[in-house]
């Protein structure tokens, strides 16, 4: 059977750029999965790594601040002291401060590119994308103001170019670039102001980061310890091998010639030398607008949000606990049924992943006395329709080792796998599948085996779909897969789009094993397929 699911609305309109980027990420992620394992894969933890770099910058910054002196000559001298005289601690702290700041930029840019490539920035996810954009600018403000504080020739170059750039706007009563005409025009208190900006911008950044994470549940803000340790050791090693150093001291009577720019932060400055300040303003404004507006360029048709059916909702909270986007709230009962709470969906936050339907205890295909209407369900892709399609798919299977594959729209495509031995059903997320459907397939002899596939382990399009599904099957999260279900007839194989061939191979291997299996009592463990050598755990 062909893939029967309606693809996620963004899926069909994914641009060529997105597709290319996605393919590139999938290839690199597969390699990093092999090297680090899914739990430590840096590409799965870009946001958390960004946070980690932030804390390294903050802590090293506190030490640097202790040694820093504000003043036109004292600033440079104090930085030289920590760099040269106290290279073993002050110098390392300064270098950590710089390289971790650069790391933040790197993580942020790759994070944004990846969210764009994976189409995780629009629909209900617009808020997280939009609030991420000012983070970028705040990091630049914090970083560039830090470079000013050294007051070397690089600082002089940045200071004059920045103030001339702002003067172009004509919003200041008097040109602020005039503050840098000559050494006597610069006051020591200027460095106090710079220090203030350099401290306030990161604090504001923290506030915006908090807002940025408001619409996701259980945000991952700390990388795995092993990854954090490796990253930190890398930064320390880099700080010793290539310590951050200053240019010669600033001299406002001379124009700096050759500069060693930090390209992570200062790439825009050469543009100011090449183009007019107005052109650079226009570029910055257009870029900012594009970033802000990207979730609506073009607007995406959002799938209908999950709907609660109060007659079937007993207020058990499983859906609210499983929702990865804070879209479900429990509130006091509004009807006469004898339960304390009922689920309520905030449609503006709902991405229609269906995880809530998969978690609902009433979502069981065995229901025949009443129609299959769970306590919560997706109007466009209801479980009743899924059961109907499952039965149609099963009816089309023949021969031995018949398999039903349940997959995810955002992982390896299933349509090419379908045959008269393999029936495929794609869901908006694999965790939208209630485990009772697996039981249903095997106990009703709709197939000889069930394959559960979805996004790569550790990297679910809907954040927690893979984790929740694994926990349900392992019996550690409601709703459990019943113990009576024969585990040897289930294959779990996580596979991204690039892993389709490996998934097909894993399914064929599974079918061979199924064909060789005698009728046996249920096993407590679920075997897992090795997709590209990455997704195996027992």
């Amino acid at each position: 059977m062909k893939m029967d699911a309606v693809p996620y609305p963004g899926g069909r309109s994914v641009s060529l750029v997105q597709s290319g980027l996605r393919r590139m990420f999938e290839i690199v992620e597969a390699w990093l999965d092999r090297i680090f394992g899914p739990a430590w894969n840096p590409l799965y933890q870009l946001g958390a790594l960004g946070f980690f770099y932030y804390w390294v910058v903050a802590i090293s910054g506190i030490y640097v601040y202790v040694l820093f002196d504000t003043g036109t000559t004292e600033a440079y001298d104090s930085v030289q002291y920590m760099t040269v005289d106290q290279w073993y601690l002050g110098g390392v702290m300064r270098s950590l401060h710089r390289y971790a700041s650069d790391g933040m930029i790197l993580m942020m840019v790759v994070h944004m590119l990846r969210e764009f490539a994976l189409d995780r920035y629009r629909g209900a996810r617009w808020f997280t994308w939009v609030t991420g954009t000012p983070i970028l600018w705040l990091v630049f403000v914090a970083g560039i103001s830090g470079y000013w504080m050294v007051w070397d020739q690089l600082a002089q170059y940045i200071a004059i170019a920045s103030t001339e750039w702002f003067d172009w706007l004509g919003i200041f009563g008097e040109s602020i670039a005039r503050n840098f005409l000559a050494p006597h025009s610069l006051d020591d208190r200027f460095f106090t102001l710079l220090t203030f900006i350099h401290i306030v911008a990161p604090l504001l950044l923290l506030l915006v980061l908090w807002i940025h994470l408001q619409r996701v549940t259980k945000p991952r803000i700390n990388p795995k310890r092993g990854l954090a340790a490796g990253t930190f050791l890398m930064l320390v090693a880099l700080s010793f091998v290539k310590p951050a150093v200053s240019h010669p001291p600033a001299d406002l009577a001379a124009v700096p010639g050759v500069l060693n720019l930090d390209w992570f932060y200062l790439s825009a400055y050469p543009l100011m030398d090449t183009f007019s300040y107005g052109a650079v303003w226009a570029f910055a404004a257009i870029l900012s607008f594009m970033l802000f507006a990207l979730p609506w360029l073009p607007p995406v048709r959002r799938p209908a949000a999950a709907v609660v059916d109060l007659d079937n909702c007993n207020g058990c909270e499983r859906c609210a606990n499983d929702c990865p986007f804070n879209a479900i709230l429990m509130r006091p009962r509004s009807d006469t049924l004898p339960f304390e709470q009922e689920a309520s969906v905030d449609a503006s936050l709902c991405v229609a992943c269906g995880i809530c339907a998969g978690s609902c205890p009433t979502s069981t295909p065995f229901r025949r006395a009443s129609d299959l209407i769970p306590g919560i369900d997706l109007p466009d892709r209801s479980l009743r329709v899924l059961r109907d399609r499952l039965e149609v798919a099963a009816a089309g299977l023949a021969g031995d080792a018949r398999v039903i594959v349940f997959g995810c729209d955002h992982a390896a495509r299933l349509d090419t796998l379908a045959s008269n031995r393999i029936g495929t059903l794609s869901l908006p997320c694999i965790a939208a599948l209630p485990p009772s459907f697996i039981d249903y397939v095997l106990s009703r002899d709709l197939a000889d085996g069930v394959v559960i596939t979805g996004c790569r382990d550790g990297e679910c399009f809907n954040r927690y779909g893979v984790a929740w599904m694994e926990a349900r099957m392992a019996g550690t999260r409601d709703p459990y897969l019943r113990p009576r279900v024969p585990r040897e007839r289930i294959l779990t194989a996580w596979a991204a789009g690039a892993d389709r061939a490996a998934l097909a191979k894993a399914i064929e291997g599974f079918r061979t094993r199924l064909a060789a299996q005698p009728a046996s009592p249920p096993s407590p463990r679920t075997p897992r397929a090795k997709i590209d050598g990455t997704n195996t755990h027992a």
Binding site: R34, Y99, E174, S175, A254, G257
Partner: protein, 174 residues
């Protein structure tokens, strides 16, 4: 994958990231300014004279004003534009009539411009008119100057210190 290969692989990935961070933190070097050139910066922030004539207030009128606002002259807010001219080696590189800033035209006229010039000997002349005279200038200054490579030579105007200020000639910049 064998554990040892995984650790080695992780080391390679960390090393690649370190190289990326370490390299682009200060490389490639960027040439902002040529060694044989110098920069001439003109900076003027000066209010032209009042656009209309001032009237001397009578003692009675002054007494009627709040104590903190008493002044002998009643002048219109609007200022005249300021005409600035700069010649470099006999060639005019700036000739601009700068209108007053502010919504009511009562702020200072401002100009801030940079010019890249060859280093070496130059004859500089700067002139400024802030009145409604038809001919001539209210401030002017000329100078023969040796400008060093990469010197930032600032022509600044400050009426409170007598008009145009030129820095002392500097030696070559290291």
């Amino acid at each position: 994958m064998l554990k040892v290969f995984r650790f080695l692989g992780q080391g390679v990935v960390y090393a690649l990231i370190a190289v990326l961070l370490g390299f682009f933190a200060d490389t490639p070097a960027y040439r902002h300014f040529d060694d044989d050139k110098a920069q001439l910066t003109l900076s003027v922030a000066h209010s032209g004279q009042h656009a209309g004539t001032c009237r001397r207030l009578t003692a009675k009128e002054i007494a009627a004003l709040p104590p903190n606002m008493r002044k002998p002259l009643d002048c219109p807010r609007e200022r005249l534009p300021v005409l600035v001219e700069v010649d470099l080696d006999g060639q005019t590189i700036v000739r601009e009539s700068i209108p007053p800033s502010g919504l009511f035209g009562d702020g200072p006229s401002q100009i801030y411009e940079n010019f890249v010039i060859p280093s070496g000997s130059h004859r500089l002349s700067a002139r400024l008119r802030d009145s409604n005279r038809a001919q001539g200038f209210d401030y002017q200054r000329e100078l023969e100057v040796e400008i060093a490579p990469r010197q930032r030579f600032v022509i600044e105007f400050r009426s409170e210190t007598g008009g145009f200020r030129f820095p002392a000639a500097a030696g070559p910049r290291g």
